[in-house]
Structures are given as C-alpha cells and as structure tokens.
C-alpha cells in the first residue's frame, strides 16, 4: 500500500509544476543530446584528444620538457632512414600475419571441437577462456620464466624427452625471439577466436549438416561448403579485431624482451614507447606510433568492405 500511495501522491504533486527543464527534455533532439553527452565526453577525453595531440606532437620537434615547434613531416622522413624503424615495421607485419593465421587455425579447430556434445562441455568451454582472462602481464611473466635459458621448463621437458641436448635460449637468440613472442601471443589469443567462432557455429542450424550429410557431402566437404561460408562473416569480424590488437601489441613484447635482442622483436608500439618515453623524444615517438595508422586504416577498410559484401550477398 505504502509504495503505491507514495508514488501516486508524487505523480500528482509533480504534474502541475512541470519545469522548463522537463519540457525541454521532452523534445527528442534535446534528450538525445543529453543522453549522448557522457559518451561524447568520455570518447573525446580519452580517444579524440590524445589522438589529435599525438598527431600534433608528430609534426613538432617536442621533447620531454620542451614544447617544440612545427617541423612539418620531418619526423616521418627521418623514420624512412631509421633502420630500427624499418626492422620494427617488418617485425610487426611478420608478427601480425603469423600470429593471426595460427590463432585463426587453432581457434577454429578448438571451436569445432567445443561445438560437439561431450561430458563436461560447459566446464571445458569456461576453462578454455583462462589464457584470455588472466592479465597479460601476469601470464607473460609466467611465459618469461618458462623461456628462461636456465630454468626453462620447456627446455627441461625437451631435454628429458631426449629431443635436445643443449639449452635453447628462447628469448636471447635473435632468430628465436620473434618466434617465442608469437607463441605467447597465439596462446593468449586463441581463446578469443575459439569462443567467438564457437558462438558463430552455434548460430548455424544443425539440420544443415544433416541435410548435407544426406546430400552426400563428406565431413570435410560439409565444413567447406556449408559451415565455413556461414561462419565467414563472424570470422571476418573476429579477425578484424584481432589484427588491430596484434598489430598494436605492446605489453607482451615489453615484458618478454623489451624489443630485444638487438631489436629482433621490436614492434611499432614498443619502438614508439622506447623513443617517445624511454628516450624522451616525444615527437619522434608520436611519429612512430602514428605511422601505424595508415596500415591499420587500410586493413580495417578492406575488411569492412569485405564484411559488407558478405552480408549483402
């Protein structure tokens, strides 16, 4: 009784004196603006402003403590002659391409397995997410320990199995370091692929598999002709997200190798950090990180166009 009474009492009490603000908010244009405001402020403060500031920094000669003057594209032309930058570009592309292909392949395989019925399905699905849930820095430290030349559990296992006879210097060997870093990235990224693709798989009507089986398609043909085309839109979105994240990856490499040895694992983000924050050359650091932008833009545009084409058809 009490609540309804109070409510009706209030409603009556407020009805006659509706203020100007209330009337203004009943106008949808104003209401829309008011509702959008928090988002606009957040995005502006944490994304638009740093981005614009970054663009500005990249065309000045600012260093830590020195405001700097406009220098045009001098920072960018300097990058073209910076051998470490060119190594970082090559590394970033190799890192992104290899990691994405591996993550997609393993994630898809895992998703197809998890899409079957078996005992403990729900538990296994939750368990698979673990690498994704653990904070990257923590899990990467664990990997660093596993890659340690002296204490590596991987080396120990391989040694006990009689596969190797010496020690493998996973992170110290320039030819192995990038591979090691890619392994960790794949380990961390596969759950995202697996769970997203699993969600995609579950939207596909299982009757289609049965129809295809009766139509004479073997398991591999059922996957290729039915499952894969229907999963493609989801796959493209997942790959899009993943490529952006992998391309701009920072913490994993920073914790494992810091870009070394001898820049063998230097990526866009780590190099930008090293120059901009480590050395204090803010403007050049901004130029390095902004150099990522055109590449990412091309990747995103191509993929979005492709997704749209798939969805229209």
């Amino acid at each position: 009784m009490a609540i309804s009474d109070v409510l009706s009492h209030r409603a009556f009490a407020q009805a006659p004196r509706r203020g100007a603000a209330t009337r203004l908010l009943e106008d949808e244009r104003w209401l829309a603006a008011v509702l959008l405001l928090p988002t606009v402020i957040l995005l502006g403060l944490f994304i638009a402003y740093p981005f614009v500031e970054g663009v500005w920094l990249s065309v000045t000669d600012a260093t830590v403590g020195v405001p700097g003057h406009f220098v045009g594209l001098a920072n960018f032309t300097a990058l073209l002659h910076d051998s470490i930058f060119l190594v970082a570009v090559r590394n970033t592309f190799v890192y992104t391409a290899v990691a994405t292909v591996l993550k997609l392949a393993l994630g898809l395989w895992l998703a197809l397995l998890l899409n079957r019925h078996f005992r403990g399905k729900a538990f296994t699905r939750a368990f698979v997410l673990l690498p994704f849930i653990i904070p990257t820095v923590l899990s990467t430290f664990a990997w660093k320990w596993m890659f340690d030349p002296t204490f590596s559990v991987i080396n120990w296992t391989l040694f006990q199995l009689g596969i190797i006879h010496g020690r493998i210097n996973w992170l110290g060997d320039p030819s192995l370091a990038l591979i090691s870093v890619i392994i960790v990235n794949v380990w961390r990224g596969v759950p995202f692929y697996a769970i997203s693709l699993l969600a995609g798989l579950q939207t596909i009507n299982p009757e289609l598999q049965e129809a295809a089986a009766i139509d004479g398609a073997r398991p591999w043909q059922r996957f290729w002709h039915v499952t894969w085309p229907l999963l493609l839109p989801v796959t493209m979105v997942v790959v899009l997200f993943s490529v952006i994240q992998t391309f701009a990856d920072f913490q994993l490499v920073y914790v494992l190798t810091g870009g070394g040895p001898a820049n063998a694992t230097q990526l866009f983000a780590t190099y930008a950090y090293q120059i901009g924050v480590g050395t204090g050359l803010l403007s050049q650091g901004a130029a390095v990180s902004l150099a990522m932008f055109p590449f990412l833009l091309i990747i995103v545009v191509v993929q979005l166009l492709y997704i749209r084409r798939v969805e229209v058809h």
Binding site: A211, A212, A213, D215
Partner: protein, 363 residues
C-alpha cells in the same frame, strides 16, 4: 525403387526407451505415413532410417541391403526437413544441385535434372534467388526439389508441412500426393496431423510411446481401430467415449451408460457376450450420431441436451451433455438446434465401437 524393412528396431537414449521393437515392411513405391502425438518415436524412427540417429538394436533394410552401418549418403535416400534446411548462402539452383555436385554428376546432367525438378514444382523463376528471398511455400518447394533431383530410392519427409499456414498446407498436401503419383518412389512421411496421415498415406502407422499401435490403410484405421488410442487419434472431431456396463436382460444384451442405455442387436451381442456383467467403453464417432426420427428403434436412441452449437457451413457440431458425459455430434447443416434444446439422438449399432475397459483393446 525399393522396399524398406524395419526389423525389431529399438532406440534408447540413456534410460529412455524411445522406440520399442518396431517392425514394419514398406512396399516398393508405397507412401507410408508415421503418425502419432509428439514424443511417440515417429521422428526418431525416421531418423534411424535416414542414418542420422544410431540404431540401438534391430535392423533397417533398404532394398535388400542392411543399412545399419551405412552413412546417410550411402543409403540412397533423400530427406525433406521440417525447417526446410536450405543452405542459406546458396542460390535455389545451387541448393538443388548440391547433392548432385557432391556425387560428381556431370554438369550438363545436373542442369537438366534441376530444370526438370524446377518445372515440376513451378519454381523455374526463382532459381537465382537465395532462400531468404522466398516465401515459406516456395522454400518448401525448393526443399522438395532438392530431394527430387537426386532420384533416390526412398523419400523421407519429417513434418514437411507443419511450418506452413493452414491454407498452404492443404494445397501442398495435394501437390505432394500428385508428386508421389508421378514419381512413384517409396516414401516415408512423419506427421502429427492425422488429416495429413489419412489423406497422404497408402498405409498409415499409428505410434504411441515408441510402440506401433496399428498399421493399415486410412479407412481401415477409421473403421476398425484396434484400440481406444487409435480410435481417438484418427478422425476429427475425435470419437466420443463413454463407459458402460453390459447386462443380460430377458435374453438380450444391454449396455447401460450414464445418460443412455442401448439394447444391442444379436450379432454384436454375440461378440460381447463374454463381457456380460463387466464394464466396457463404448465409442461412437460424432458423424455416427444422428438426430432421431420416429423410425429408429427406441433401444438405440437417447436424449441429450445441446450445450454449444458450432456451425461450420458443411456440417454443424453439437456439444452435448449426455448424463455425466459430454459428446460431440456432427449433424446436417439443416438441423435447427439451439443451446439448451433437448434432442433425441439415434445410434447405428454397426457403427459402434467397444473397447475393453482395462486393456483398451477393441472387442
């Protein structure tokens, strides 16, 4: 062209015995309908026949081959699914051609066969469209087309019409029948709709709780149901049932029920004589209840109160209160009955059904 034999077929899901020792012989070119309420095991039986469900025990033969261990694709069957199961990313043409492509049929041959099926089904104009651009009825035709182009030994249908609206369903039902007459291929059809079963089936298999109740031609099921379940399931509106006690009175056998009593003619009496003094269930179809005129013998008439009048045009359904029972009578549209009227109804003794009260088997 092939006959299909189910021999002692069983299906267990963990502890649930879903299909119980089903034996069935489907003749070559026959159209057999499995019908029953949901959960009766009809779809499971069909899926075992298709190879989509493993067989717990028993045998399935297609032609003269035991197909228990053959994959669906090797059984030479085609199936039409309830939800059509069309490949959404393929055009109508590709949907129909898919099975042939998988079997590496020559490309020109594929085109010829798809065109032929499209002509039969009247979907020539939609071959380039995607399934989602089609109406429910058109999708159903594509699903049929996909089955037809394969020229399989056996067609399997899993409630193919249940997603269509009532009018379209009647129309597709007729077309399916025509199609079967034209293609002359063995067909097994699952439905929960007894009207579909009666109209489509050369023979109908009524199932309940995983057990086959009766196999027979539609009219055989209608006229001579083997038990109360089949009697109640086949026919619409459903058969009326009333418990009655059999009593010997002055050499004649009487059935006394709440609200009416019958004096049974000699031939029926002879059949029911062993049940004298016991309870039986009397079954009478709504269309066998007729408003009495003077010429009916009083021993086969009873009075009833009209509670609801449903005028359907071609017939009138009367909901009646007879003693403690309600009954439905389907009478001529000319009968001018109103709610609350007391009418005298007559029974045709040869149209009465009697069932054992405990086993529910027909007597």
């Amino acid at each position: 062209m092939a006959r299909v034999i189910l021999r002692n077929l069983n299906k267990f899901y963990d502890d649930v015995h879903a299909v119980k020792s089903v034996n069935l012989e489907i003749r070559d070119k026959e159209f057999v309908v499995l019908v029953g309420p949901s959960g009766c095991g009809k779809t499971t039986t069909l899926r075992m026949l298709a190879g989509l469900e493993s067989i717990s025990s028993g045998q399935v033969l297609i032609g003269d081959t035991v197909v228990n261990d053959l994959a669906p694709m090797d059984r030479d069957i085609a199936m039409v699914f309830q939800n059509y199961a069309l490949y959404p990313h393929m055009s109508v043409y590709d949907n129909m051609a898919f099975g042939l492509k998988m079997r590496k049929v020559d490309r020109n041959d594929i085109r010829k066969r798809v065109q032929e099926a499209a002509d039969i089904l009247g979907i020539q104009d939609y071959l380039a469209r995607k399934p989602r651009q089609l109406s429910g009825g058109q999708r159903q035709r594509v699903a049929l087309g996909r089955a037809i182009v394969r020229h399989p030994q056996v067609f399997l249908f899993d409630e193919p019409l249940s997603n269509l609206d009532a009018k379209l369903r009647v129309q597709m039902r007729v077309e399916l029948k025509k199609l079967h007459n034209r293609l002359n291929t063995t067909a097994v059809y699952v439905t929960h709709d007894q009207v579909e079963a009666m109209t489509l089936g050369d023979r109908v298999v009524v199932m309940r709780g995983g057990v086959v109740q009766q196999v027979g031609e539609p009219l055989e099921l209608y006229n001579a149901p083997v038990n109360r379940f089949v009697a109640g399931f086949i026919g619409s509106p459903a058969m009326n049932f009333a418990p009655a006690r059999l009593r010997d009175g002055a050499g004649k056998l009487h059935a006394d029920a709440s609200g009416f009593g019958l004096q049974l003619p000699a031939d029926i009496a002879a059949r029911l004589r062993p049940y004298t003094g016991r309870e039986v269930i009397v079954g009478v179809r709504p269309e066998d209840l007729q408003v009495a005129n003077g010429s009916y013998p009083p021993g086969l008439c009873f009075d009833a109160m009209v509670e609801v009048v449903e005028r359907l045009g071609a017939e009138v359904l009367l909901d009646l209160q007879v003693g403690q029972h309600t009954m439905v009578a389907s009478v001529e549209p000319g009968v001018a009955a109103r709610r609350g009227d007391k009418l005298r109804f007559a029974l045709k003794p040869e149209r009465l059904h009697f069932f054992d009260a405990s086993s529910e088997a027909a007597i």
